[in-house]
């Protein structure tokens, strides 16, 4: 599997604060990879670095095997980037936006964008500012897709859209992607939206990559243990997060579990629970590094 996007130790600093740190990941060809994490985790930073809009402070980012040159144009022809603000020219007519796309790009599918917009009932001769934000998102996506990119970089493409608009957007996106096997790298902070769509998931929290695996493997390798105050720690099992309330402890773990006995209940977490576990871990770790009191729930000792 060729790597369409590859980063090594990628980092970006804004003044004293790191927006992204030590990020190493691979997005393989033809896959749909989701980037999930809370706001401020570094998702937008990572996507902008991949699009060449930002320059890394450290590390490298390569697209199609070549390091990105922000002032070069080779990679621009092969990527389609949609910023989370979905910028658009409000005073343009819809067809002017398509003309803009045609003029600014070497490869352009003239028939695709009008077809996509017709499927969702958006006329071509109205001004963009008269459309709803869901319709504007469709226009932005259509411009992105008509470029026929090999890699799509979408930063929260359905952000702030109502459920129907979200579904229509994903239908348009996935329908087009299904035909060409385009590689997609998209971000969201809504796990349930990404779950049916993504082959792979990357969890980003506090500017660092926490997990990068296929969605199937994530669900298969993680377990939720509910037990009493003391839980046996086992080698080969990694504790991701711990939540204690009263005498009950919830542990999210990863690995092959031995028989834990009747005091513990082992459940299959859904993807949302796994992601939350990692985000909790990230939160606890930054609390520790901030110097605040350590969370008392560590790996338990023998009762």
């Amino acid at each position: 599997m060729t790597a369409v996007l590859e980063t090594r130790g990628l980092g970006r600093r804004y003044g004293a604060k790191w927006g992204l740190r030590d990020c190493s990941l691979t997005v393989s060809e033809g896959s749909i990879t989701g980037l999930v994490g809370p706001n401020g985790a570094g998702k937008s930073t990572l996507l902008r670095l991949a699009a060449g809009l930002s320059r890394p402070s450290e590390g490298t980012v390569s697209v199609f095997g070549q390091p990105i040159d922000p002032n070069g144009t080779e990679h621009l022809g092969r990527i389609g980037y949609l910023d989370q603000h979905r910028p658009i020219y409000g005073s343009f007519r819809v067809r002017d936006m398509l003309t803009l796309g045609r003029k600014l790009n070497t490869e352009w599918d003239d028939a695709l964008a009008p077809q996509l917009l017709a499927e969702v009932g958006i006329p071509l001769n109205v001004r963009v500012h008269t459309l709803s934000i869901g319709q504007q998102a469709q226009v932005s996506l259509a411009v992105c897709l008509a470029k026929r990119p090999d890699l799509l970089l979408l930063d929260e493409p359905a952000g702030s859209l109502d459920p129907l608009a979200r579904q229509q957007l994903f239908q348009a996106l996935l329908g087009t992607v299904a035909e060409r096997g385009t590689t997609v790298f998209l971000s969201s902070h809504i796990v349930s939206e990404l779950e049916p769509v993504c082959d792979n998931l990357i969890i980003l929290a506090a500017s660092a990559v926490r997990l990068s695996e296929s969605t199937e493997d994530i669900v298969a390798t993680h377990k939720l243990i509910i037990g009493g105050p003391g839980i046996i720690s086992t080698p080969g099992v990694e504790v991701i997060s711990t939540k204690t309330s009263g005498r009950q402890t919830h542990l999210l773990v990863r690995g092959v579990l031995p028989n834990l006995g009747p005091d513990c209940e082992v459940l299959q977490p859904d993807l949302q629970e796994v992601v939350l576990g990692y985000l909790t871990q990230a939160g606890q770790q930054s609390a520790v590094s901030d110097g605040s009191s350590t969370d008392s729930a560590q790996i338990g000792v023998l009762p």
Partner: protein, 305 residues
């Protein structure tokens, strides 16, 4: 014969000329020329002088800055063409429109200033030759310089917008920058773009200035030069040293200076130099505009999210 001249600028008209948007103070000659409908002429002239600056603000300041503010640059700079190419194309479209608009506008202005000159000639005592357009009050709104000004203003607005990345700041900076450039041009540069001519004041037997000649053209200021044949009266000092000695000596300046072989007179640019000055000044502004285009390209390529 060595012509040594020092300019003593008349400060107030220079300051008045430097303000791009205020027009009423400067037009001494215009006032002389047009005794009727003075206010009307002044206002019109002020608007005409302000026009290139307004072009720069309205079209140039948001050219790059508004794209950055609205984040549409994240859309257009991730399409397939390079940022510099995008900028040049966008700027060229606007520049062509500006040049066309200003040129058409110029036809009207040219006619209007012609009317002013003719009426002025009817009303004033200025000897006629029909080339009063070289005067400070009319030079900047006639001929080819307005187009050069508007290109410069457009490019200044664009460059400042690209560097400052905010339209509001670019507007303020463009006004300040344009005014500064105009002031520098008017105060120091324009009079040197062609050789000036010196006309001595006619004097009486005892070196009293009889009248102040007003040749047709642009009076740059008054100055002095050595009277041909009387260099020996300087006594080895420079003309400037002699003049300052005379000024501090307490005696009559003119008598003292004449005694040392100097004569005072009017330094001016004759009307025949009009087109030389026009093309030179236009050339300077266009060159500056091209330099600013380079600055803009640099700023655009340098932008990072």
């Amino acid at each position: 014969m060595v012509l040594v001249a020092h300019w003593y600028q008349d400060a107030s008209p220079a300051l008045a000329h430097s303000r791009c948007l205020l027009g009423s103070v400067r037009y001494q000659n215009l006032y002389d020329a047009v005794t009727s409908a003075t206010t009307q002429a002044t206002v019109i002239a002020a608007v005409l002088y302000a026009a290139p600056c307004l072009v720069g603000i309205i079209l140039g300041a948001p050219l790059v800055a508004a794209e950055i503010e609205r984040r549409t640059n994240r859309l257009v700079w991730t399409q397939s063409i390079s940022r510099s190419r995008w900028l040049i194309i966008k700027w060229a479209l606007v520049a062509v429109a500006v040049v066309a608009l200003v040129s058409v506008f110029q036809l009207v202005t040219q006619w209007w200033t012609g009317q002013v000159v003719m009426r002025g000639l009817e009303n004033s005592q200025i000897p006629t030759s029909g080339t009063n357009r070289i005067e400070r009050s009319m030079f900047g709104i006639t001929g080819v310089v307005p187009v050069a000004y508007s290109l410069f203003a457009l490019m200044l607005g664009t460059a400042l917008g690209a560097v400052l990345r905010r339209t509001a700041w670019a507007v303020l900076a463009t006004v300040a920058g344009y005014a500064a450039a105009a002031w520098v041009m008017l105060t120091w540069v324009r009079q040197h773009l062609a050789a000036t001519v010196f006309v001595p004041y006619p004097t009486s037997q005892n070196a009293q200035v009889l009248s102040s000649p007003r040749p047709v053209g642009w009076p740059v200021g008054f100055g002095y030069q050595v009277i041909p044949g009387k260099e020996h009266l300087l006594g080895g000092s420079s003309p400037g040293a002699v003049v300052s000695r005379c000024q501090t000596s307490g005696s009559d300046l003119y008598q003292c200076a004449t005694a040392h072989g100097l004569q005072f007179g009017q330094v001016y640019q004759p009307g025949s130099h009009y087109w030389a000055l026009q093309w030179s000044e236009a050339g300077i502004y266009v060159a500056a505009a091209i330099a600013l285009l380079g600055v803009t390209i640099w700023a655009v390529r340098r932008w990072r999210a």
